[in-house]
Symmetry: C2
Subunit: 791 residues, 2 copies
C-alpha cells in the first residue's frame, strides 16, 4: 500500500506531466502554422480564413511576437469568456449540456469535499485504531484518514451514515435542479428553432409487401386513408450500397482533377501529364486534366446506368419510407400513435435529422431487430465479463515460444538478447493495448448491428456499453482482485448479502490506487486532450504529403468533436469514485475536484475553438447522465452497507437499507417528471409553432420545402433537377448534397458564399442564432433534435 | 411421505366429495325453487321469467318429474352445446377468453402427459436406485416413478433434458398460437362493435389549475387549441362522495315505498301502515305509502340543495375530465399522444366504459400516484413475505391463556373439557382462515389505493398480487419448509446458484403433497363451485326474510361473475405445477388433466347459465396469462437446473442454461408482436370505422350522442332533463342512470320493455349480437374494451 509520500511523488510527476502538456499547448497554439489545428472551429464558422497573412515568410510559420509567450496561460480566461447562451449558439445545445456535466460535478463535489474533510478527517483520525494498535502492520498513511481507522462497533459510524444521508440528499437536490433546467433548456431550444424538415417528417419502417402494389403505392394508400388531412407525400429509400461505392470512387477522381487544374492554374506554362498504367507509374503519358475529365465523364455514364437500374428495380426499394406531413401536429400524431392492427407493421417514429441518419440500418426487418438486440446484449455481457479470455489467448500465442513455433525462421533474430527482452516486455501488453484501443470501435460496431437508424442513438448506445465495461473492469476490477470472469464466478456462488461486504471491505484499501488513476487518466490525460498531439502530427504530415487542394486542407484540419461514447462514461466513472469515496476516504475528493475543474476549462476551450459537432441531439443524453449518477449513489450506499456490516455496526443496517429505496423512488419520480421531455414531442408545442407559422408565413408551400429533404443521395439528381449533373457525396458519418457547380467556387470558402450555395430550404434560420456549419460548407446546420430511437 | 396407497385413499375421498357435490348440484338444479340460483343468466337475458308456472302448488317448489332425475349428469353435454361465437355473444369475450385458458391447459397437458408417462416412467423405474439400494429407507412409492429414482451422474438425465426442451418448445408453440388467436379475436370483437361512447372519449387527468379560470374553461381552451378539428366538448367530474351516500339512502326509502305499494295492490282492502319511531317498532302509526312518499319528497329537496352546492362550488370540480371527440380517430390520437410540455400535466388516456369507472380514484394527483404505487408495492412485498407475523401474533393472543387473561370471567366456561379442546383445536386456525378469507378483499383495497380508475384494471392488479402470494406461499412455501420470511432470510444469505438447488432438490419429495392439493382444491373445490352452496343459502334466506318486491328478488338472485382476481391466479398455479412436475414426477400430470377437464366443464356451465359479467375488457387479461405461463416455464427450467446439479449431472448445465435465455427471447418477441393489440387502438381501425359510419349514417349528431355518456351521476338531472325528477342509483360496482318513471313498470321486467326503457344512445347494437344486460334492466350492455390503465 502506498504511503502519503508515494502519493506525493505520483502527484508531483503527474502535475509535472500535465504542466508540460499545458506549456507545450500554450507554445504551439500561438504558432501560425498550427492555427488550423488549434482553432479549426473558427475556420469552419468562417471567422478566420488564414493565420495573419500580412506577415513575412518566417512569421507565416513561427510566432516571432515574444510578448505573446509571456501570457501563455491566457487561454483559460479566454475559455471562460463566452456565456452559456453564446456557447449554445456557437456550438449547439449538446456541447453546452456536456459542459453542464462538469459544472454539476463541481457543484456536487465542492461542498461535499469541504464537509467531508472538515468532519470526517477529525472523526477518523481521532479514532485511531490503526494509529495506535497496529503500528507494526503495513498500513497506508491514507488509511489513517479513512473509515478503516474507526474501530468496529464504534458509535462514530453514525457520523458516516449521517453524512451519507446528507450527501445523498444534496446530490439528489442538485440532480433534480439540473434535470429541470436541462429539460427546460431543451424545450426552449426546440421552441426557438425555426422550421426544420425533421419537424414535418416521420420515418415508417416495416411496410408490408402487398403483391401487385409497389411500396410507394402501398404507403400512399395507407397514409392517405389514415391521415387524410395531414399526409402530403413520402420519400422512398433505396438499397444503394453498391452505388455509394461508385460515388466514393468518382469523388476521388474529381479530387485528382481539382489537383491538376489547380497545378495548371498556378504554373500555367505547361499542362500537367499523367501515366495511365498501374499507380500512374507506367503506361502512356497523357494530359492529366483531359484524362481525368474523360474518366469522370465515363464514370458519370456508368453511374447513371447503375442509378437507373436501382430506381427501376422494385426490389431495391426498401420497406422504409420518410413521410412528409403538412404540419408539425400531423407529424407528431403519426410518430406517436400505433398505425396498424398488426403491431409489427407500419412502425412510425420521428425521423432523425437528415445528416443523422445511418442509412444502412433502415432496411432491417422487425423480427431481426429482436434477435439482433438479444445477440448484442449477450455479446456485451460476454465482452464485459470474459474479455480477458481472448486476450490471454493472444498473449499466449504472442510470447516468444509461440512466435518461434509459428515462424521458425525468425529464431536467430529473436534469440538476440536485446530484441528478446524488448519483445518479452512488449508483446504481452500489446494485445491488451490494441484491444483497449479498438474497444470503442468494437462497441460502435455492436451498436450498429443492433439496428438503430440515427448516429446520435448509436453513440448513446455505444456509450452505455462502454459504461458497463468501465464499471465492471475498471471500478470493480480494481477493487476486487482477479479478472471480471473470476469475480462473476465468485459472485454467483456468494450470497447476495455477501457481495457488498466483499467489495465494501476492499474499498478503503484501494483509495490510493484510484488517486493515482485520477492523476494519470484525469489530470495528465485531460492536459493531453488540449494538446491534440495526434491531430497536430497528422495535420502536418497530411499537409506535407497529401494535401493537393484547398479542399484537402479543409479535410486535413479534422476538428473532431466531443467523443461522447468515450468521454461521458469516463466522466461517470469519476462521479462514481467521488460518491463512493466521499464518506469512506474523503482525501480522494480533492483529486476529483481538480479533475472536474481542469476538464471543465479544457473542454470549454476545445468546444469554443476546436470541436465541430457532428449532429445536434438537443441534450438527448441527459437522462443517461442522470440515471448513471443515481446508479453511482446506489452503488455507494450498498457498498457502505457492506463495509459497515463488516465493521459490526449492525444497528445501522435499517438506516442504510432505507436510503437506496428512497433514492430509487426519487429516480422513478424524476423519470416520470422529466424524461418524456427528452423522448416525446408534445402536441401543445407542435400546434403552437404551426399556428405561429401560419400567421407569419401564410403562403408557405410546405410540400416544396420538404420535397428533397430526405431524398436518398442517389435519387437527388433525378427528382429535383432532372438531367442536371449533381455532385453527390456519401461520407461515413453523414450524407449531404451540394448543388452544382460548386467546386471551383468552393476552393475559397467564405460565409457569404456559403449562404448562397446552401440549399434554399436551409436559409430560414433565426437571426439571433449565428449559422453553424459543418466543415463542408454547403452542409446543413445543426439545430436538430432527436426524440425517438431510444430502446 | 405418502405411499401410493395413501394417495389412493385421498383420491377416493376427494372423488367421492366431488361426486357428492355434483350429485347434489344435479338434484338441486332441477327443483323449480332453485331455478333463480342455477339459471340466473337466463333471467337476466330475459329468456326465462319464472320456472314452469303452469304446474300445481307443490311442483312450484319441488320437481316431481322423476324422469329428469335419471339423467342427472346431462348438464355436461348441455354445457358443451354452445360454440365459441355463441358464448361471445351470450357472455362476452372475457368469458370466452377465460374458457380458452382451460382449453389451452388441456392442449398443453394432454400430449405432455402421454409423452412424459410413456417415456419417463420406464426410464425412471428401470434406473432403480431407490428400488434396490434404499429399500430400508422411508421412500415414497411415488418417488420410484420420479427423477429421484435415477442415480447421480446417470446418462439418463439427458432424456429428462430432452423432454424439457420438447415440452418448452411445445408450450411456446401453443402459447404463440393462442396469443395470436386471442389477439385476433379481440381485434375482430372490437371491429364488430357498433358505436360506443368510450370509442369517442378520452379521460384527461392532472388538469393544471390556472388562476382566474375554471377547470372547464381551461380544458376547453387547451383542447380547442390543440385538437381543433376533433374536440367537441368535455364532461367535468365532481367530488360527490357525500352525495353518493344520500343517493344510497334515498334508494332504500324508494324500496320501502315499492314494497308497500305492491302490498297495497295485492291486498287492496286496507292501506298498509307503519310506525314512525325507532326501527318501525314504536311511535305513531301512519299510512305507509303516504309516509314514504313524503319522506322521499323531503329527501329529494335535500338532495337538490346538496347537488346545487356541489355544482356551484368550484372546489368540488376535480382536475379530471372526460373529453368528447367527433371521431374515433381524434380520440385515438388524443389518447396516445403527449399533450403538454410538462409531462406530468394533461395526462390523456382512453376512457374506460362508463360502468367500469371507479369514480373515487379520478381525483388522485400525479405526484401521489408515484408514492402510492411505491407504498403499495412495499406493502405487497411485506404481505407476501411477512404475512405470518401478524397471524402468529393473533394466534398467540387467541389461545386459551390469552383469552383467560383478557377475560377472566370466562374461565369457568373455558375450563370445561370439551369446550377447551374445541377452542384449542379451533382458535389457532381461525386467525389464518380469516386472513385467507379476507385476503382477496385486502388485495383489492390495495389495488384501489394504487389509483387505477377502471374496475377491470383494479381486478387485474389484484390478480397479479394474488399470484405473487400464491407463488411464494403456496408453491415455494410448500416446497421449502418454514415461513416465507424464513425462506427470504435464507435466500438472502445463500448464493444465487444455491437457491435453485435448495428448491430443486425438494421438488420430487413434495409431489404427493401437491397431488393431494390438486384433489382438494382442484377437484372438490371446482365441484363445490358448481353447487353454489353459499348463493343458494343466501338466496333462500333473503327470499324468506328480506325480499319485499320483485326488484328485491332480482337483487337476491346475485348471479356473481367469474372471479378473475382469484380464479386466474389459482389457474396459473396449476400451470406452474404441471410444467414443473412434467419431467420431475410425471405421475402428477393426470391429476392436473382431470382438474382442467372438470373445471372447463364447470366454468362453461356457469358462464352459460349463471354468471353475469360486470364489465367487458375484451380479454385484456390475456397478456398476463401468457407471461405467467412463461414465468412458470422459467421457474421449471431453473429448478430442473438446480435439481440436476445436485445429481452431479454437471455436463448438462450449459444445455439447461440456454433454455431460459431462449424462452425469454420468445417472450420478448411475443410481447412486441401481440401486446400492443391489447394496449393500444390502431389508427387504421379507428379510421375504418369512422369512414364506415360516415357513409352509413351521414346525419349522425355525435355531440348529442355523447352528451350524457360520462356525466357524473349527480349531474344527470340538471344537464339532460332540467328539473325533471330522475332516479339516480350508485352501486358499489357500477353507476348507471334510469330515466323516469320506471319503477312501477320495472316490477315485472320483460325484454321488450327493457329495450324501450334503456337510454336512446344504447339502442344501436348490431343485430347479430343479442343484447346482453346487466341484472338491472336499464343498464347498458357490455361490449366495451379497455386499452389503457395498465402500469
Amino acid at each position: 500500500m502506498a504511503t502519503l509520500a508515494d502519493i506525493g511523488v505520483s502527484a508531483f510527476i503527474n502535475i509535472l506531466t500535465a504542466f508540460a502538456f499545458l506549456l507545450a499547448f500554450a507554445l504551439l497554439r500561438i504558432q501560425p502554422i498550427n492555427d488550423r489545428v488549434y482553432f479549426p472551429k473558427w475556420y469552419i464558422t468562417g471567422e478566420r480564413t488564414s493565420p495573419r497573412s500580412t506577415r513575412n515568410f518566417v512569421s507565416k510559420f513561427v510566432n516571432l511576437n515574444f510578448r505573446t509567450y509571456l501570457t501563455f496561460l491566457n487561454w483559460m480566461p479566454q475559455a471562460m469568456r463566452m456565456n452559456e447562451a453564446e456557447i449554445i449558439s456557437h456550438a449547439g445545445l449538446d456541447s453546452a449540456a456536456f459542459l453542464r456535466i462538469y459544472t454539476l460535478g463541481l457543484k456536487i463535489f465542492v461542498p461535499v469535499t469541504i464537509v467531508a474533510l472538515l468532519i470526517l478527517i477529525p472523526v477518523n483520525v481521532s479514532s485511531g485504531t490503526l494509529f495506535f494498535l497496529r503500528r507494526e502492520l503495513v498500513v497506508s498513511d491514507i488509511d489513517k484518514l479513512s473509515i478503516s481507522n474507526v474501530p468496529p462497533e464504534s458509535i462514530r459510524f453514525f457520523v458516516h451514515i449521517a453524512l451519507e444521508y446528507l450527501f445523498t440528499i444534496w446530490i439528489c437536490f442538485l440532480l433534480y435542479k439540473e434535470y429541470d433546467s436541462v429539460a427546460s433548456m431543451r424545450l426552449q431550444f426546440l421552441a426557438s428553432q425555426r422550421r426544420r424538415v425533421e419537424q414535418f417528417t416521420v420515418v415508417v419502417r416495416n411496410i408490408p409487401h402487398i403483391s401487385g402494389h409497389s411500396v410507394s403505392d402501398t404507403v400512399d394508400h395507407f397514409f392517405q386513408t389514415n391521415h387524410p388531412n395531414h399526409y402530403i407525400g413520402h420519400q422512398a429509400v433505396y438499397n444503394a450500397n453498391k452505388f455509394a461505392k461508385l460515388v466514393r470512387k468518382r469523388d476521388r477522381l474529381q479530387n485528382w482533377l481539382d489537383y491538376y487544374q489547380l497545378k495548371f492554374e498556378r504554373s500555367s506554362d505547361k499542362r500537367p501529364t499523367v501515366k495511365t498504367g498501374f499507380l500512374g507509374l507506367s503506361g502512356r503519358k497523357v494530359d492529366a486534366i483531359e484524362y481525368y475529365k474523360q474518366l469522370i465523364k465515363d464514370f458519370d455514364k456508368k453511374m447513371t446506368v447503375e442509378r437507373q437500374k436501382i430506381i427501376k428495380d422494385p426490389k431495391s426499394i426498401l420497406p422504409v419510407a420518410f413521410l412528409s406531413f403538412n404540419s408539425r401536429w400531423g407529424a407528431a400524431v403519426c410518430a406517436q400513435t400505433q398505425q396498424s392492427k398488426n403491431p409489427t407493421l407500419w412502425l412510425t417514429n420521428w425521423a432523425p435529422e437528415p445528416r443523422d441518419i445511418y442509412w444502412r440500418n433502415l432496411a432491417i426487418p422487425f423480427f431481426s431487430l429482436t434477435i439482433r438486440k438479444f445477440i448484442i446484449s449477450m455479446s456485451v455481457f460476454a465482452l464485459v465479463f470474459f474479455y480477458m479470455i481472448p486476450i490471454a489467448f493472444v498473449q499466449s500465442l504472442a510470447n516468444l515460444e509461440g512466435l518461434e513455433r509459428v515462424a521458425p525462421f525468425l529464431r536467430p533474430v529473436i534469440e538476440l538478447k536485446f530484441i528478446k527482452s524488448f519483445l518479452q516486455g512488449f508483446l504481452p501488453g500489446l494485445a491488451l493495448k490494441i484491444f483497449l484501443y479498438i474497444l470503442p470501435t468494437v462497441l460502435m460496431i455492436m451498436s450498429k448491428i443492433e439496428g438503430h437508424i440515427a448516429m446520435s442513438t448509436l453513440e448513446r448506445r455505444a456509450a452505455a456499453k462502454y459504461y458497463y465495461f468501465m464499471l465492471v473492469n475498471v471500478f470493480l476490477g480494481s477493487i476486487v482482485t482477479g479478472t471480471a470472469f473470476e469475480q462473476l464466478h465468485a459472485f454467483l456462488h456468494q450470497s447476495p448479502t455477501q457481495i457488498p461486504r466483499t467489495i465494501g471491505v476492499s474499498i478503503p484499501m484501494k483509495a490510493t490506487f484510484f488517486m493515482t488513476y485520477i492523476m494519470v487518466d484525469g489530470w495528465a490525460g485531460i492536459a493531453g486532450e488540449i494538446l491534440r498531439l495526434k491531430p497536430l502530427i497528422i495535420f502536418h504530415l497530411k499537409n506535407m504529403f497529401l494535401v493537393k487542394t484547398e479542399r484537402d486542407r479543409e479535410k486535413a484540419m479534422n476538428p473532431g468533436s466531443v467523443d461522447f461514447p468515450e468521454t461521458i462514461p469516463s466522466l461517470q466513472l469519476y462521479f462514481l469514485l467521488g460518491i463512493v469515496y466521499a464518506v469512506v476516504t474523503p482525501v480522494l475528493l480533492p483529486f476529483i475536484l481538480v479533475f472536474f475543474a481542469l476538464a471543465y476549462l479544457v473542454y470549454r476551450h476545445q468546444i469554443i475553438n476546436v470541436y465541430n459537432q457532428q449532429y445536434e441531439s438537443a441534450a438527448a443524453f441527459w437522462p443517461h447522465v442522470h440515471s448513471r449518477i443515481i446508479a453511482s449513489l446506489l452503488i455507494s450506499q450498498l457498498l457502505l452497507l457492506g463495509l459497515l456490516s463488516t465493521k459490526k455496526a449492525a444497528k445501522s443496517t435499517p438506516l442504510l437499507v432505507v436510503l437506496p429505496v428512497l433514492t430509487l423512488v426519487f429516480h422513478k419520480y424524476c423519470k416520470n417528471r422529466f424524461e418524456p421531455a427528452f423522448r416525446k414531442y408534445p402536441l401543445e408545442e407542435a400546434m403552437a409553432k404551426d399556428i405561429l407559422e401560419k400567421t407569419t408565413e401564410p403562403g408557405l408551400n410546405i410540400k416544396a420545402y420538404l420535397a428533397d429533404a430526405y431524398l436518398h443521395p442517389i435519387f437527388q439528381s433525378f427528382e429535383v433537377e432532372e438531367e442536371e449533373v449533381v455532385q453527390v457525396r456519401v461520407d461515413k458519418h453523414q450524407t449531404h448534397h451540394v448543388a452544382t457547380p460548386p467546386l471551383s467556387e468552393l476552393s475559397s470558402p467564405s460565409p457569404q458564399h456559403v449562404n448562397q450555395s446552401s440549399p434554399p430550404h436551409y436559409n430560414d434560420y433565426p437571426p439571433s442564432l449565428p449559422q453553424d456549419y459543418y466543415y463542408r460548407p454547403a452542409s446543413p446546420p445543426h439545430y436538430g433534435y432527436n426524440y425517438q430511437l431510444e430502446p
